[in-house]
Structure formats: C-alpha cells, structure tokens
Symmetry: C2
Amino acid sequence: MPRLNVIKRKTFHYKWSRHHKPALYVRPGDKVTFEVNEVMSWMITKESTAEDLTKLDPEKFYPLAGPVYVEGAKPGDALVVDIQNVKAADWGWSAILPGLGVLTDFDRPFLWKWNLANGRYASFTKGIKVPMRPFCGVHGVAPPEDGYFEVMPPGKHGGNMDVRHLVAGSRVKLPVWVDGALFSTADVHASQGDGEVCVTAIECPGEVTLRFDLEKNAKIRSPHYWIRGDSRPRRGYYGTTGIAPDLMEATRLSVRNMIDRLQKEYDLSPEEAYILCSVAADLRIHEVVDKPNWVVGTTISMDLFPRGGSR
Amino acid sequence: MPRLNVIKRKTFHYKWSRHHKPALYVRPGDKVTFEVNEVMSWMITKESTAEDLTKLDPEKFYPLAGPVYVEGAKPGDALVVDIQNVKAADWGWSAILPGLGVLTDFDRPFLWKWNLANGRYASFTKGIKVPMRPFCGVHGVAPPEDGYFEVMPPGKHGGNMDVRHLVAGSRVKLPVWVDGALFSTADVHASQGDGEVCVTAIECPGEVTLRFDLEKNAKIRSPHYWIRGDSRPRRGYYGTTGIAPDLMEATRLSVRNMIDRLQKEYDLSPEEAYILCSVAADLRIHEVVDKPNWVVGTTISMDLFPRGGSR
C-alpha cells in the first residue's frame, strides 16, 4: 500500500547536490506532502518593506524541501511526479529586484504584498484581481556532477523551471541522474505568467503533495510535462508584440509594450505594470522562422480587470 | 452605411511599399473581402511533389492582396482590423525547406499535402487530426521608408507575423506609417502552432473578410491584438522543455525533444514530427529570468492523437 509521508518545514537544504543525505526514502507509488518554506527563508514576511529587499542574504535563497530518495530510480530513468495538491499560504509578495528581471532599467527595489486569504484570487491595485493558480517553481533532482550547485538556474536536473502550468492535476517528468533521484521541491507561487518577467511571481510559503513513480529507461534529455492548460477567459486576451532579430530583444520589446499599454489603459505605475506582467501575463513565441525577425507576444487575460477595457 | 468591397484574386502585389497604388479606397467602418492567393503564387498545387520545392522562384513568394487605402489614417494612428471571417480552400500543403526553419539539420525537401475538404480538421498520418483554425499569416501596412521591402520578415509595419490566434472574431492593431495606411493581407494558414517551427503552416489559398477602423493618435510601437484564446483540450497538453542560456538554443532543444517524443510515442518519422510541431505545437517562454538559463516549452494538444498516448 502506498505510504503518505511528510517532509516537515524544518527539513530543508540549500543547493543541489548528490552529496545531500536523503531526508526520506520512498517507493514508486508513494505520496509525500512537503511543507515548503518561504523562498527567501523567511527573510521576507508580511511586515517587510521595499528597503528590506536591499538586505537579503543570497545564501538563504531557495530552501529546498527534501531530498527524497526514490527506491529503484537509476540514471536514464524518468522520475514521474504527479502534482496532487498545492496550497498557498494566506499571504505572498512580489518584488522588483534591480539587476534581476528581463528589463534592465528598473533600478529601484519595489515590493508588493498580497493578501491570499480568500484562496481564489489576489487583489492588486485599481480593482485588478489575479486568479490564484498555485504551483511550485522548483521541482528538481540531484545533478550527476560532484559538488554543490546554485538553485537559481534550472538545468537538465529540472529545478527552478518556473513552469506555471504545473498546478494540481498535472505531471512533470525529470531525468534521473543519480541513484534514488534525490528529489526536492521549493518556491510556491500563488500565480505567475509564462516568463515570470520581473523575476518574482506571487511568492509564498505553502504545502504540496506529490506522488512519485518511475518510467524506467525513459532516456529523456530534459524535463517533460503533462498539463491541462488554461480555461478560456470570458473576455479574451489583450496582446502586444515585440519584433526583432533576437528572441530576447523581441521579448523585452513585447513586455515593454505591454507595460506601456497597462499604464495608459489602466493607469498603473511602470512598477505596478511590470509586476502584473510577471504574475499574470504570458510570453508566447508566435514565429521564430521568418528571417531575420522573430515575433514574441505578451498576452494578458482581460478577465483580470474590473471593466472590459478597450480591445 | 459601411460598404462591403471585394479585392479579387487578380489584384495583388509583391513586397511592401508606400509607392504601391491603392487597389481600393475605404472609410473607417467599411468591410473588405480579400480573395487570397496561394502563398507561392500557385507554384505549389495539389499535384506538386517534393522535387518541385527545389524549383521555386522566390520573387513570387507572398502575393499580397491589396493595398487598401483607409481614408483618414495618418502616421501615429493605429489601424484597427477586425477579422470577421477566414475561409481556407479545400486543400493545403506543408513543407520542410532546407535552409529555413528553426532546426538546421533537416537538409532534404519534404512535402505534405492536406485535404481540407471537411472544413473542420486536416488528417495527418497515423490517424492524427489537426483541427482547422484558419487565419492569415500576413496583415500589414506600408512602412514609412522609401523603397520595396521583402515580405518574409515582419516588422514595425506588422506583415508576416504569423500570429496564429488571429482567427475570425479577433482583432489586430497596426501602427500606421503613411497616409491611408496601405493595408494588405496574405498567407492563409488552415492551422499553425505558435512558432511555425519548420517555416510552413498548413498553407492554402482562401478568402478573408476584414472590417477596418482607426484608433487616432494611438502611438503604438508595434502591433497589438485582442484574441479569444484556445479552448482547453479534453486530454490536456504534452510538453517538452529546452533549457539553455540563449532563447533560440532553448527553443531548438525543446522542439528537438518534442520531435523525439513524437517519434517514440506515435511512430512518426523525424520529418513528419517536425511538420506536426509546425502546424500544431506551441512555443511558450516559461521563464526568462532565472540566470543564466531560460526555459522554453513546446506543447501539443493530446486531442490530436487517435489514442490518449501516455502522459
């Protein structure tokens, strides 16, 4: 019979490594509930101010819940992780952290704190409501190399992928690199857009329940997933394009154009608009073949806004 | 009262230019039906073979239906184009054209011809059915510069944007650069995924009805749009990731991983899998901030496949 296990909040580690001692041993079919710490190890709380963002200790970013040793997992297998439940806490935060984020000209720290108590949506300024679709930004396994690796960049071990579609009911498959896989999770997001453009989603502590299985000898080269996709918004999406010979430049232009639009149409400040893009707007690559210019779109559901807005 | 006008099949031009004589003058509020030629000026027909792909004359790519002069349109305005109807012909084609497409190692021309007669879906190999969602790859206006400009690259004039979401019921707004805007359209696609990764969608002749309006002094810097978004597929999406420090490289890895998946799971040839990605799989930028690695996802609706497939 499958076992339900709990990784308590006090059980976490920093950095990815094959050298971490497992916190728990499970068998394929087992479920684990992870109590997930605040992504900055509680350096940010309900009481924090923008000034506190300048005093963060990067050594304490990304406390990882785990690692879990999955019996029978061997290099070449895929670790199949079914996301059964994701709970966000009753508060969260988003921030602009100068030096991070896709746009480089936001040079002042900015903090927005969200009340998540109603469990369905997070209220922003100007009557804007962001639906809660909680998921974990981080699902990863130990990389094969010796040493201790930063969590910020995702990689062939998965990790900080920020795939916003990995909500309850979805599945992610991670390539296994070491015996037992050594899986950990972190970084609950109450909501995020594809791209996470300002570098933060709605960051919050939380709790996630996962079921583990193995696909033997799957030989996948990077993470795969199965997702349900979004419901169609009642009032559609507004989109802005960025067109340029470099995908990053096209991305920046398209986000910049959306920020302009949100400022004009909904009277947001540039900082508010940037945060809203990060937590609720999606980046799509519309075309990457019409040489030499590519088209990236930034889209946002119009259901977020208290009035229809103009199309 | 708004007028309904027709741009007949024989009325087309090559290249974007402010020097083209208008084919039609309309007022804001007017509708125009465009008979849209085959994108290679009928060099590809129902009878074509892969060998014919090596004999194409690039001077005859992208016959543009138009241009339409919209009275009152001035530089700084946005031309608002409501897409009222898009009809695909009863046949179409997709091809791998070596030297084009996001993957560079497909070096043999490959042609797939589609029967679109039922109007709802296009049948592929192995029982795969691609739903028809016709739109025009090209909606554009004359650029401000003197001269004649290739249609392949999109730009600040819109043009060959290949935004697959511009189906009937949606809206695109183009920045106006010259008096009257000089709008043209082309390149009907019966279906396409975000990215159009192999460089062709389901290419077909067709007919499109558009309604024009102006947003005076809108001062948009690149095209905007309003779209309804996709219905949620019954069986969800399968996705593969590409993780790399460059968005183009991440895109290529993610498409490559999807091709591998389609080969293994559905027994497609690499060429068939590449074509299927181009006409039905979507590129999303999941994160572009977790330095130094970005995550691009290629997702495909599982409703296309005759059986569930494994998740």
